[in-house]
């Protein structure tokens, strides 16, 4: 399942954010009638189509895998948390319908209607992501039911959806999708711009991608703070793990980097910022942060993986934020300067995969960090799994399948990209 999710999340993130990019491009075309915008919108639409299709089929796999791999989880939780999945289904349905209209209807519907179709694709994409993340948030902070005799009773699906971590998680994932996609697309166009500095097509593309990615990257640390405080309150073990906090202490330091050693009960080689963790987790530098020692050993997740994944995620986030700030500063100083600096463009290319890496790392933190629970404090992962033996077979089959799909997608996208228009800009003014 982790394999399917790791694959699906990339395509889902792109499926959420690309429609926004393509709609902005189409909108600019309708406003300015500059042909590059139309070409850009159509080019990005094609990319969206390819990625959406693969995202859709991998999403289908996931809906089935919920039952194929975790029948006991679904048996227990289906009635409680099935609703957001239904709503996600509808959002996805809407997105598929209007994407069909958008991709195939350039010459069949009026321009206003076409743009509106694109907007609906973008909106329903975000919505479906929000609903599905609500379900995941519930797994982290389960509400909306009571337990009697080991069975859930008094089920309240609305309370389940309005669980305490829903808002912070959905905000964080949505911003992540925009940041990651924006930066990935920006990286591609920056690379091509390095080869052909005056290319108007790539300049326009880079501007839009950096706008979307940059704004998201700047908002993300704020969202991250919200998430951290939610985790501190509802999943203190996870917080301790991702920070490598073994001892319970007041004025706990923030650890940057470092390698947790479970045997020794300490995190070595970290750069420690005094009061940092207490401040970030509780907005009070003297707050008490629960260490791992406060929890039974059999409720610890894998500290090493969770901590390192967290550092990677934050590191990538910082990188994107730095580039966003640099871009904003250059744009403010002199618009054209954005495209002239070789170093800036190189940095954008370098940072292209940062958002996707951050997404994978972040999901590793939250999912591995919740272990051994599949529903925090309620059901353990090992009690939820299917009794079907030989799971290694479908695992290998799906892994091979996904690798194959990923390879083809990358190849197709490269071919699309390689066929970029060679449009010169008469003067460098935008």
């Amino acid at each position: 399942m982790a394999m399917s999710l790791a694959f699906h999340i990339i395509f889902a993130a792109v499926g959420i954010a690309m429609p926004l990019l393509m709609v902005i491009a189409e909108w600019r075309w309708q406003r300015t009638r500059e042909e590059v915008y139309l070409i850009l919108a159509k080019r990005w639409a094609k990319g969206t189509a390819i990625l959406f299709a693969v995202g859709a089929v991998s999403g289908t796999v996931l809906s089935f895998e919920l039952g194929l791999l975790w029948p006991q989880f679904m048996n227990y939780a289906g009635a409680i948390i099935g609703m957001p999945f239904s709503l996600e289904g509808f959002a996805f349905f809407t997105e598929a319908i209007f994407l069909g209209i958008y991709l195939y209807g350039w010459d069949r519907v009026r321009p206003r209607a076409h743009l509106l179709a694109g907007v609906l694709v973008a909106l329903s994409g975000v919505l479906s992501g929000v609903f599905v993340v609500i379900a995941n948030a519930w797994m982290n902070s389960p509400t909306g039911f009571e337990i009697a005799d080991g069975r859930p009773v008094n089920i309240d699906p609305v309370a389940a959806m309005l669980n305490p971590m829903a808002f912070s998680q959905t905000l964080h994932m949505s911003l992540a999708a925009y940041a990651a996609t924006g930066f990935a697309v920006a990286g591609i166009h920056a690379y091509l711009l390095l080869r052909d500095r005056k290319n108007l097509f790539h300049r326009r593309a880079l501007a839009i991608a950096l706008l979307v990615g940059g704004v998201a990257a700047l908002l993300q640390p704020l969202s991250g703070d919200l998430s951290a405080r939610a985790v501190a309150e509802y999943q203190p073990v996870k917080l301790a793990a991702l920070e490598g906090q073994f001892k319970t202490e007041r004025a706990a330091p923030l650890r940057i980097g470092g390698i947790p050693d479970e045997e020794a009960g300490e995190t070595r080689y970290a750069i420690e910022i005094p009061y940092g963790l207490s401040f970030l987790a509780f907005h009070d530098p003297h707050a008490e942060v629960k260490g791992l020692e406060a929890f039974p050993r059999d409720q610890w997740p894998n500290i090493l993986i969770v901590h390192i994944a967290f550092q990677v995620m934050v590191g990538m986030g910082m990188l994107m934020m730095a580039i966003a700030l640099w871009a904003a500063w250059r744009w403010w100083r002199r618009r054209g300067a954005l495209f002239e600096s070789k170093w800036f463009l190189r940095a954008v290319v370098f940072a292209a995969p940062a958002g996707m890496i951050a997404i994978e790392a972040g999901w590793t933190v939250t999912e591995v960090g919740r272990q051994p629970w599949i529903i925090q404090g309620v059901m353990r992962t090992k009690d939820a799994v299917t009794p079907m033996p030989g799971l290694v077979v479908p695992f290998i089959a799906f892994t091979v399948l996904y690798l194959f799909l990923a390879a083809i997608v990358v190849w197709l996208l490269l071919r699309q990209v390689a066929a970029s228009p060679k449009k010169e800009v008469p003067s460098a003014e935008d």
Partner: protein, 346 residues
Amino acid sequence: MSLELLAAGAMVVSLMFYALLGGADYGGGVWDLFARGRRARAQRELIAEAIGPVWEANHVWLILVLVILFTGFPSAFAAIATALHVPLTLLLIGIVLRGSAFTFRTYDSERDEVQQRWSRVFSVASIITPVLLGVTLGAIASGTIKVENGIVTSGFWRSWLAPFPFAVGLFALALFAFLAAVYLTLETKDEKLQEDFRLRALVAGVTVGALALTVFLLAGEGAPKVRAGLAASVWALPLHAATAVAAVGAFYFLWKRKYAWARLCAAAQVSLILWGWALAQFPYIVEPDITISSAAAPPQTLRLLLAALALGALVLFPSFYYLFRVFKGRTAFAPLEEGEPGEKKE
């Protein structure tokens, strides 16, 4: 009408739309494989054009079935997903390959070898997937999935590796191929292409009849309760009569080249077959141990689910209508536009 009955009904409706819309997409893949003769290329292009804008949306009905199942009837979902782990996994692989191959074919090089490579994957996957879908439904109907205290006791292989489920699988394939051929006659104005698909529809229709009989006969041993339902209940006769009328009607209109009416009859036929199966199996979701009421989620969940479905339908049906209007224009709604008070199809 109880909440769980409504939810179960919604599942059947969703499955019906999946068969009528997504099923035809699979059928298209079958005809892609069997594209022959001078117009082979034109046949393939017609299929691609017909499926292109709508296949993603058509596909979502299956997800809807799944979602209603695991929200409204979670223990049934758990049991089905456990007992039928293998065919469902294979079904998934088929779905992934078909969707990806179709997309890759659309956006990859125009060179013939490349197109043919993806077409092969697309059409083979389009054949295997409906068979597995039918196998799954056949296994559910067969009464061989045993559940005790929430645990599946009949193993991972026995319920579906049997003649009856596979017959249902082939039946499903034939039905989808039939639907696709009938639909395709209306998707083109080229008379020669229409003739091509008319022929295919007739052949597929005969195959459907033969397989329907096979399934019915095998059900005697393979799915006795469903067979009893199909043969003996009070609604059985009117249902069979209606299905027969629709089937004969489809043949008649195909023969007479009145394709819009043929489409209506074919769709009615498939719908009636599906409802016939659902009613024959009522009140069981999984024969013989899981009923609609035993698996039902608590009323709050069902109420919310039905509310979401109603709201969703309000948004979706107009959107679907718009989608089909834009791309299928007159062809989808032809019988209505000819001034006949035909049934509403969507």
